[in-house]
């Protein structure tokens, strides 16, 4: 399909990215659920062991540590940051079999499940815990099988998986653009999480297009990224007007 048929430009004009407004986020978890369904992320009857669940979009609870009445809490949705560090992302740098690679035309860090040997080196190298391992065979209740997304292949036991910025939606958008005689390299599309968020907290688009909402929001004075000091160069930005939240975004800020 269209995924690999990119044009040749080395310095691409597309860098897909995301901005999540924590001031708007209510922590409802719709993004996480939509992601799970859209990307055929399997689950088990008992998901109480949070260190073993498959989760592409995880909600973290942040607390300011103060007592009543100054107590504050916030939720922080965390997809894969699609790290844009020069040369390599932390995870793509270490994968011995090129099963996780950054598409330099879009900036999307992808994962080829059928090539992954399950060594979990990428998981260990990712500081955001954006990757989960398939500890069990994926299984869905019979009644849910008809609801699986046909464009996304389910992953098998023994491999790692993570957020792809709904790469299949990009492929569909590119195909549509081709049919309409438009430039497939400049399409805009919306991942499932951004589509369902009831408060409109998630904005997605091309960070390199100065006119895009996402590029404008990324320059907002409220904008920050997680763990900037590590120089992983996340393409996911957060917005918050609360100083204590911004402080928790990085060590020793």
């Amino acid at each position: 399909m269209s995924g690999s048929a990119h044009s040749e430009h080395a310095e691409s004009k597309v860098r897909y990215g995301m901005v999540i407004d924590l001031d708007k986020c209510t922590g409802c978890g719709a993004c996480s659920v939509a992601c799970q369904q859209e990307n055929n992320v399997s689950f088990r009857p008992d998901e109480s062991d949070k260190l073993r669940t498959l989760s592409w979009m995880t909600l973290y609870r942040l607390e300011n540590g103060a007592g009543y009445p100054d107590y504050r809490a916030a939720m922080l949705p965390r997809p894969c940051m699609h790290c844009d560090s020069p040369h390599h992302s932390p995870c793509t740098f270490v994968c011995p079999v090129n099963a996780t690679i950054r598409d330099e035309h879009t900036g999307i860090v992808d994962h080829v499940a059928v090539r992954c040997i399950g060594c979990r080196y990428c998981m260990v190298a990712c500081p955001y815990h954006a990757r989960s391992f398939n500890w069990w065979d994926p299984k869905w209740p019979k009644s849910m099988e008809a609801m699986l997304t046909p464009e996304v292949s389910p992953r098998m036991r023994g491999v790692v998986e993570k957020c792809t910025f709904c790469h299949h939606r990009l492929n569909l958008a590119r195909d549509r653009a081709r049919l309409n005689g438009e430039d497939p390299d400049s399409v805009v599309y919306t991942p499932a999480c951004a589509e369902v968020c009831p408060t409109g907290a998630i904005t997605f688009g091309n960070l390199k297009d100065p006119n895009s909402d996402v590029a404008k929001l990324a320059k907002d004075p409220r904008a920050f990224r997680l763990l900037e000091k590590l120089h992983t160069e996340p393409k996911v930005y957060y917005l918050s007007s609360a100083q204590w939240i911004r402080r928790q975004s990085d060590n020793g800020l």
Partner: protein, 413 residues
């Protein structure tokens, strides 16, 4: 009963006793195989690993055992390479066979455990087919498998020295010729080992998203690359000496001259000292420059059960102390203290491998994240213990049926 197979002029325990020992080892190995099959059939969910601890006991044991197995390459390097310039190193001839056998056990054992460690063992060969040249793990996969082949080649002539096999003319000639060219393999092994011991160090060192493990370095190699190679050289021969001592104790015989142990003590003690100085410099630079650059203090990295005590155990109890024990003539003269020195040396390096792979993962990188603790399950212990039993099996068989100690006859008239 098996007299015809036992090397001439040496004594071995009665076959039934040896048989019982083998039976015990085989039982442990069977337990490990059962655990291994459970992991392969049911998946890694039977282990204590999780999304935070992607690396666990398997990796620690692999890294530890490969460092301890470094006696093979480093003794070979000293004997075949350096002894031209330092004739004293010729002494190592008396223990070199054992070093090769121990190395063989360590590497083949590690490869078997590695097979369990990856979630898709059937895709193990993708490491060669889809190799990512930037990944340290790729370097590890290539060098370790090449070196395991070199070790097999080095082991073959030792096997061919068995009395019965040696009586077969073509085998005798083949074995003899192999002996002649062994220096080439020893040097190839040295070259490969320098690289894979180093790239094993590179595995944690290049993770720039993990402030505990990440190290700056030289060109494409983080400092851990060099530290791992050096520490493997410092503990490998010590491990060989320990194994030799255990065989001596069990068989109630003297197998090598004490001078060999003393030589190994001086070499490993000196290397450990150099390693400790560099490691301390590395730790200080990391604690005072690298980590603060990431916004972290030294104390942020240590919390029970992975407290500062691990650092003190690694560098103090199992670092400075063995250096003193191995380099001071008085302590070196006491058997108890000498072998305690060897033991602590090896233990320190294993703690280092644990710290760089498992402890490194306990520390939350995102400030709002939590600390995690990892507890291995029986499915992880069993294959690791079985691997040790497998090593004991190979060493036992080799000792019984092969003339691996050239001085055994003279030392036990």
């Amino acid at each position: 009963m098996d007299k015809a197979l036992i090397p001439e002029g040496v004594k071995r325990c009665p076959l039934p006793v040896f048989g019982l020992w083998l039976l015990f080892l085989l039982a442990v190995i069977a337990w490990g195989i059962y655990a291994g099959l459970t992991v392969l059939i049911k998946g890694l969910n039977v282990t204590g690993l999780n999304n935070y601890f992607g690396f666990g006991l398997y990796i620690t044991v692999d890294l530890g055992i490969i460092a301890l197995g470094a006696g093979a390459f480093f003794s070979g390097f000293m004997y075949y390479g350096l002894s031209r310039f330092f004739p004293k190193l010729k002494e190592l001839h008396k223990i070199i066979n054992l070093a090769v056998i121990v190395g063989f056990c360590c590497y083949t054992g590690a490869l078997l455990v590695l097979l369990l460690e990856i979630g898709q063992p059937l895709r193990g060969w993708f490491g060669y087919w889809h190799a990512n040249v930037h990944s340290m793990l790729t370097e590890v996969i290539f060098c370790i498998s090449c070196y395991a082949i070199v070790l097999v080649i080095e082991f073959v002539p030792i096997i061919l020295e068995n009395r019965k096999l040696d009586a077969v003319k073509p085998l005798h000639v083949f074995g003899h010729n192999l002996h002649e060219i062994m220096a080439i393999f020893a040097m190839t092994g040295t070259f490969l080992s320098f690289f894979h011991q180093g790239s094993l160090g590179g595995v944690p060192g290049v993770m720039f998203g993990r402030p505990f493990a990440y190290r700056t370095g030289f060109f494409i190699w983080p400092w851990t690359f060099f530290l791992f190679t050096l520490s493997a050289m410092a503990c490998g021969p010590a491990f060989t000496a320990l194994i030799c001592r255990i065989i001596e104790k069990v068989s109630n015989k003297k197998l090598v001259d004490r001078s060999v142990y003393e030589l190994i003590a001086k070499i490993t003690g000196s290397l450990l000292l150099i390693y400790l100085i560099l490691k301390t410099m590395d730790t200080l630079y990391w604690a005072l420059d690298t980590a603060p650059g990431f916004g972290l203090k030294l104390s942020d990295f240590y919390r029970e059960p992975y407290g500062m005590w691990l650092l003190f155990a690694e560098l103090g109890l199992c670092g400075v102390l063995p250096v003193i024990l191995l380099l001071t003539p008085q302590t070196r003269n006491s058997n108890g203290l000498l072998f305690l020195g060897f033991f602590l040396n090896c233990a320190g390096i294993v703690i280092n491998r644990f710290a760089m792979t498992v402890e490194a993962l306990a520390i939350p990188v995102m400030p709002f994240d939590q600390w995690a603790v990892y507890i291995p399950t029986w499915a992880e212990w069993a294959p690791c213990i079985a691997m040790l039993a497998y090593g004991a099996l190979i060493v036992s068989l080799s000792y019984r049926y092969l003339p691996i100690f050239p001085r055994e006859k003279e030392l036990n008239p």
